[in-house]
């Protein structure tokens, strides 16, 4: 392990190398291009490949292809690019392709303010693609978390054969912080399960006894089928309700039944708290200070930072907040993740604190809003 002073973006790039990244495809976009540039220089030293494609659509489809060639694969983008990638993410979901998308949010909609921040795309990151399933979404708020959660994103993608979104934003992207960089031997890395049967008995979408099918790669003699159509366990197109039901429920359950395993958070003052300020990403920095300011004023406030945004771990969140009287959801958008929490927490008031700020919202602003509700 060594310590370095890194931005969130470079922490993501470093972590992906630690996690065993072997293929990166991308298209330049602010504020993510330095992930791309850093990997273009560093990844070939580790036997990996970095290619600039003609657009984000090609990039994500290349990432899917590389994953089927056994390479751990990633791309990074921001709102406009992620919007272009959505169709292929749906393909990655139905073909159960492990991959990581680092989504560094910037101010939107449309071109917005490309160099500045916001959290407008938190729902798009999991609900954006067609097909009504869930993509795991992890949200760092510091360079160290960007590093740690990137490794975790790769592990989840390999463990559950799913795309995973690492949801950062323009503030974290270019904020420096001390980051503990670990050697590969110092982290637990998960690799996809390979088939244990000979090629003629292998079915690429048969979960055997669990929910996640073992995955063979191209070039190994398994006659793999990557199929975008509704398919049975063999990968054969099967336009039948029974097959569709079986496939949908399995794809749903393999993510949602692992909600507890995927859940990650941190908190301050939660043991002694009436008013919880729940937040994520760069806004967690604001909420943290706001909670302290409220305590100085005599209110029993605390802050809870969610590092896993999707799947929403209902039981875990309810349990975490069981002792508090009121929940405030602080975010740099019009109150989007608030809707998720309001749907889960039904025994107490959940209040949205929607802030729109091109940078990190000021804690005083949060305090002003919350005081009205205390």
């Amino acid at each position: 392990m060594r310590y370095e002073y890194l931005t969130g973006n470079i922490a993501i790039a470093e972590a992906s190398i630690t996690a065993g990244l072997k293929f990166y495809a991308g298209y330049p976009i602010t504020p993510t291009s330095d992930i791309f540039e850093y990997l273009a220089k560093e990844l070939p030293k580790h036997g990996g490949h970095v290619i600039q494609f003609e657009d984000e659509i090609a990039s994500i489809n290349a990432v899917i292809g590389a994953s089927w060639a056994c390479a751990k694969s990633m791309t990074a983008t921001s709102g406009p690019g992620f919007s272009l990638m959505l169709e292929a993410l749906s393909l990655a979901v139905i073909t159960e392709t492990p991959l990581v998308v680092a989504y560094v949010m910037r101010t939107g909609p449309s071109t917005g303010v490309p160099t500045r921040s916001g959290q407008y795309d938190v729902l798009q990151s999991t609900y954006g693609f067609h097909g009504g399933l869930v993509i795991p979404v992890l949200a760092p708020s510091t360079p160290q978390e960007a590093y740690d959660l990137t490794i975790r994103a790769f592990n989840i993608s390999e463990m559950l054969r799913t795309p995973v979104v690492l949801l950062s934003d323009a503030v974290i992207a270019h904020t420096y912080g001390k980051v503990a960089i670990r050697e590969r031997s110092e982290v637990d890395l998960i690799d996809r399960t390979k088939p244990s049967v000979p090629p003629d008995a292998y079915k690429p979408y048969d979960p055997v006894n669990g929910l996640v099918p073992p995955m063979a790669c191209f070039g190994e003699g398994y006659n793999v089928l990557v199929e975008s159509l509704t398919h049975d366990e063999r990968g054969y197109y099967a336009p039948r309700t029974d097959v569709q039901r079986r496939l949908m429920w399995r794809l749903y359950k393999k993510i949602v039944e692992n909600s507890g395993k995927l859940f990650d958070y941190s908190s301050t003052y939660l043991d002694d708290c009436d008013y919880a300020l729940v937040s994520y990403g760069s806004t967690a920095l604001t909420a943290n200070v706001a909670a302290k300011l409220l305590r100085e004023k005599g209110y029993r406030a605390c802050s809870v930072k969610l590092k896993t945004l999707f799947p929403v771990y209902e039981d875990g969140i309810v349990n975490l907040l069981r002792g508090v009287k009121k929940v405030f959801v602080v975010e740099n958008n019009l109150g989007l993740y608030y809707r998720e929490l309001r749907g889960v927490i039904r025994d107490k008031e959940v209040v949205s604190v929607p802030l729109i700020d091109l940078d990190v919202p000021l804690p005083q602003e949060v305090v002003e809003v919350i005081k009205e509700w205390l």
Binding site: K22, F23, A25, P44, K45, H46, G47, H49, I51, F53, E54, D55, I57, A58, S59, N61, A62, V63, I64, G65, A66, W68, A69, C70, A71, S73, E87, A88, S90, L91, F218, G219, E220, G221, Y222, N223, V224, L225, V226, E227, S228, L229, Y236, Y237
Partner: protein, 281 residues
């Protein structure tokens, strides 16, 4: 006991018959392609576990469902980046992209353009039936000007795209046009293209009697086949300028470009190994 077909070892026989309509030219394309692959495997120049088919969406892309190789049936227009990525990670693979004119020349236009520019080591087979077949007869960029389609009911005002010219202009190593009306010649261009480095682009003229033929008064598969065959002109070394086509003037088939420039993978690997002293690959 059914009598086997010589190509059965290369097919997922439990998926036959195919989903293609009677009179469709795609069976000829698949048959000739598999025969060419069989010859190359028997020569020891291709390994079957290193052959992969990738297709986007459309009747031609469904060709990926039948051969007994690694296959990917992905999303509309995006087969090429998928295939190129596999090739980069596993250079021993022979990547065959199969797609219709809509899949390759319309929605996938940006990808074919850049794959050719890179001289990416992929065999791209674009089957041109001059119409959107699967979706019911809408305009394709390859539809000859003036013809009826369901989205140009008063006649197609647009000029048809000539992908042979595009591929030649951007520097593909091998550019040929074949026709399902001439299966032996088609097999021969596949056979050659299968061992080409760099990008090999083969346009195959094909028949869609159900959709294309029906709308231009040639619903009977034999009539459409005969009419296409009448319009096909075989040339041994045609110039690229001869590749422009229209329904009245007809279609020149043959090998338009044959070069042996280094492919993308070779050049890419050369740069990387130069940077790292031929090491850490």
């Amino acid at each position: 006991m059914a009598v086997g077909h010589p190509l059965d070892p290369y097919l997922r026989t439990d998926r036959i018959p195919t989903m293609w309509c009677p009179g469709c030219g795609l069976g000829v394309v698949l048959g000739t392609l598999l025969r060419a692959i069989d010859r190359r495997i028997k020569e020891g120049l291709l390994k079957r576990e290193h052959i992969a088919f990738v297709g986007g969406i459309g009747c031609t892309a469904r060709m990926t469902l039948y051969p007994l190789f690694d296959s990917a049936h992905v999303i509309h227009g995006r087969a090429i980046p998928f295939a190129l990525a596999v090739k980069v990670v596993k250079p021993e693979m022979k990547m065959i992209v199969v797609g219709g004119d809509g899949d390759i020349a319309a929605i996938g236009g940006n990808h074919i353009l850049h794959a050719i520019r890179r001289n990416a080591d992929i065999l791209v087979v674009m089957v041109n039936n001059m119409i959107y077949g699967m979706t019911g007869g809408q305009l394709a960029p390859t539809t000859p000007r003036g013809l009826y389609t369901t989205t140009t009911p008063y006649g197609n005002p647009e000029k048809e795209i000539n992908m042979v010219k595009l591929a030649a202009a951007l520097g593909a190593n091998y550019v040929a046009r074949g026709s399902i009306t001439h299966p032996h010649l088609l097999e021969q261009v596949f056979y050659k293209a299968l061992v080409k480095q760099g990008l090999a682009f083969i346009e195959v003229l094909s028949t869609c009697p159900e959709i294309f033929g029906r709308h231009i008064g040639l619903r009977n598969p034999v009539d459409l086949y005969t009419e296409l065959k009448k319009r096909v002109v075989v040339k041994t070394k045609p110039s690229v300028d001869e590749s422009d086509y229209d329904w009245e003037k007809g279609f020149v088939i043959g090998e338009f470009v044959e070069k042996d420039e280094p492919g993308y993978i070779e050049i890419y690997r050369k740069y990387i190994s130069k940077a790292f002293g031929g090491g850490e690959e």
